[in-house]
């Protein structure tokens, strides 16, 4: 089993160095030279499981290490490569692969296109899984790996250590050494070695700091750079080139540029671990202020994701074995299933989306002044995590929309009051109340049967109880549709277009409600419903709704919006429309 997991990690490239493609594992070997620094590797060396390259543990990330030459599975950079979904075996893929497939599917949906900004634009967050599993290839790899004198258990623990360290560093980018070589964690050297290291580092750091400082800022820079480098080394920085860089950077005022280059390096390092890379990019973007909008939220989400045990927490939604299956079988529609799924996932604290949700929720309550963008970012992040969390959810074309709705419900169930209060405007409330006191007008042209009109009023009244934008939009649509269904007018109604286009309608009593009639009807409906804070409801829908308001929802919203404008701008409208 362990062999299998090791093999899978090698096959997917998750345990291979993103820089060189080596699959380094700790080994005790004597008498080999380090491929990174050229010195003899006495102990604590790492050897590539694939090609046998040996390096010091501290040299695993040096650029001077030659690339892995293993021919069986040559290191393939993911540049300009698209992976069709059907070529990836989702049934046995790791969480990384599942996440990748899910996000690809989401990206192809309408909502996904709208979310291009959230979805990684340059693959940053989503690294492609390795190619389709080939049984013959797997067998060959297994045979090779079996011959290697490394115990898989040892390898796994090393991997875990490295991954944890990467996560920890990614979350705190300011702790990353300004050395451009970001390394795997080093073991503290022995005392004598430390002394030699300190002496060498001080001397080299002084010289290097001076050189770099002078290059950037002349003689004064050289002096300051050397001093700073000495101070840096003396205060415990381990490598002499840290001193050089700190000195040079401090003098040359190129902090920003340096930070960016470090960010790029750090991001490049983790091309294989999709979550790690995503964490790194988000956190580093947050640190360098590359993108302003939603950054604290992104960083918090990244942190929460990193803390979540992603691989262990993967929840496969298998109808046969899933504990939720019997419950879901009773529900017919996909949106109900998604809603239940979302609630379950968010209620289970150990899942990755739940952790993201909890982190963002905490952040939201700390930053109440940014209510709207925060809530939008919150809903987006959690929805995306949920869809990425569940491979089959991403198969449904409208899964993201449904997940949005379900996440909306969860989030707005406890944040609704804060959000809604932001749209409230007491002056407009008073204006609306005054307008509502006028007697209704157009409705008297209707015949005695006002069933549909009353339905429309009732539907509008439910606005207050609906807590999510989509629910509110549904109320508006059903209200306007009910209005449009009440075509019972008196025969002497002065119809604008009696002559045209309507002669083919056999039933003259059942005339269509045109826009000329619908709007005054809507005005009366708004007046009769007396929904308090109606403008706040409409603004809530407009700001938080994800619809582009092109379809019938948009028309219903616009109609009620217009009716409200008519009422509040002309509170004493003549009674006859």
């Amino acid at each position: 089993m362990e062999e299998e997991s090791t093999r899978a990690l090698v096959n997917e490239g998750m345990m291979r160095s993103p820089r060189h493609g080596h699959a380094f594992a700790k080994q005790q070997m004597l008498g080999r030279f380090c491929a990174g620094c050229g010195k003899l590797a006495w102990a604590s060396a790492c050897r590539c499981l694939l090609c046998g390259t040996t390096v010091h543990r501290s040299c695993t990330m040096l650029r001077s290490v030659p690339k892995c030459t293993w021919a069986g599975d040559p290191l393939e950079t993911p540049s300009e490569r698209t992976v069709p979904w059907d070529e990836v075996d989702a049934s046995r893929a790791s969480l990384a692969a599942v996440r990748y497939i899910s996000l690809q599917r989401v990206a192809a949906t309408g909502a996904g296109r709208a979310l291009r900004g959230v979805l990684p634009s340059n693959i940053a967050a989503v690294a492609a899984p390795r190619r389709r599993r080939d049984d013959a290839l797997l067998a060959a790899e297994a045979a090779k790996i079996k011959r290697l004198p490394v115990k898989p258990t040892e390898l796994t623990s090393l991997l875990e250590l490295a991954t944890a360290a990467k996560h920890a560093r990614a979350l705190e980018p300011h702790l990353v050494d300004e050395d451009e070589e970001v390394t795997t964690p080093r073991r503290p050297p022995s005392r004598s070695r430390r002394l030699g290291l300190w002496a060498g580092a001080t001397a080299a750091g002084t010289v290097a700091g001076g050189v770099v400082g002078s290059a950037f800022a002349g003689p004064a820079g050289a002096l300051l750079g050397a001093k700073l480098a000495q101070a840096a080394v003396a205060s415990g920085a381990t490598a002499c080139n840290v001193g050089a860089f700190v000195g040079g950077a401090a003098v040359s005022y190129r902090q920003r540029h340096l930070l960016r280059s470090v960010s790029a390096d750090v991001a490049r390092l983790w091309t294989r671990r999709d979550d790690a890379r995503r964490v790194a990019e988000r956190a580093l973007n947050a640190a360098s202020g590359a993108t302003a909008a939603g950054e604290p939220f992104d960083a918090a989400a990244a942190a929460a994701l990193a803390r979540a045990d992603l691989d262990g927490a993967f929840l496969e939604f298998d109808p046969a074995s899933d504990p939720l299956a019997p419950k879901l079988a009773e529900l017919a529609t996909l949106d109900d299933q998604v809603a239940i799924f979302v609630q379950t996932v968010l209620a289970t604290r150990r899942t990755a989306p739940a952790r993201v949700h909890a982190a963002l929720s905490k952040l939201f309550y700390q930053r109440r002044h940014h209510v709207l963008p925060d809530v939008v970012a919150w809903i987006r992040c959690v929805s995306l995590e949920i869809v990425a969390y569940h491979a089959r959810l991403a198969e449904a074309a409208d899964a993201l929309e449904l997940a949005f709705d379900a996440v909306d419900r969860v989030i707005l169930s406890h944040a609704y009051d804060i959000v809604f209060a932001k749209f409230d405007d007491p002056d407009r409330n008073r204006l609306l109340e005054a307008a509502c006191d006028d007697p209704t007008s157009y409705v008297f042209k209707l015949r005695k049967n006002r069933t549909h009109f009353n339905k429309a009023v009732a539907a509008l009244k439910t606005l207050d109880a609906a807590k999510t934008p989509s629910d509110k939009l549904r109320c508006l649509v059903s209200s306007v549709e009910a209005l449009a269904r009440s075509p019972l007018f008196d025969k002497d109604d002065d119809d604008d277009d009696r002559d045209q286009g309507r002669n083919n309608n056999n039933n003259n009593n059942n005339r269509d409600v045109t826009a000329d009639v619908l709007l005054p009807l809507a005005v009366d409906c708004v007046r009769a419903a007396r929904v308090p804070k109606l403008h706040a409801h409409l603004a809530f829908v407009e700001h938080l709704g994800r619809d582009d308001f092109l379809g019938v929802q948009g028309y219903a919203l616009t109609t009620i919006h217009c009716a409200l404008s008519v009422l509040t701008k002309n509170p004493h409208t003549p009674s006859a429309f």
């Binding site: 990206a107 045209q500 217009c562």
Partner: protein, 204 residues
Amino acid sequence: MGPRDNGFKVVLLGEGRVGKTSILLRYVKGEFSDRQVSTLQASYLDRRLAVQDQSIQLSIWDTAGQERFHALGPIYYRDADGALLVYDITDYSSFNKVTKWVRELRQIVGAEICITIAGNKIDLEKHRAVPEDEALDYARSVNATHVYTSAKQNKGLDHAFLDLADRMCKRRQAQRPPSNPSRKHLLLVDEPAAPPKPKQNNCC
């Protein structure tokens, strides 16, 4: 607001009684006389069209034509891709109103909205009050297309909407950045690896 890949919003504007609603009703019922498209069909219409080898969705919004609702125009034509301005060829004042709408649209929405000016009631040619040359010249001067329609005789409607859809499609394609073609998958781009450095003897 999400991007609209193949959805277009078209508003019908014009003075009351020029026949906006009739155009919409005829456009709905000309082909769909037996079945109801939606309950809002007299004021709102979703129509699928094939333009330039692609299927697009037109959302046609009728507006209230009464003068007292004129101020609500901006709420209706917000985010619209196209506008069909209707006037009655037997009523010169309705043509004046069209010029007002054009000015307003260009001022508020800008140049990116496609405008088609439709002279309706062409079946009443003998009562024509708007000179043909004037209407055509005006349409040309404001970069709009001019069509003649008759909702009563079902003339020119398909042409008007197809032409408008065609122009909206072209405009959207022109606005779309060429470097971002629609594709099924994300393009995976990795940063180029830095060239290997010479040996560094400072690692341990």
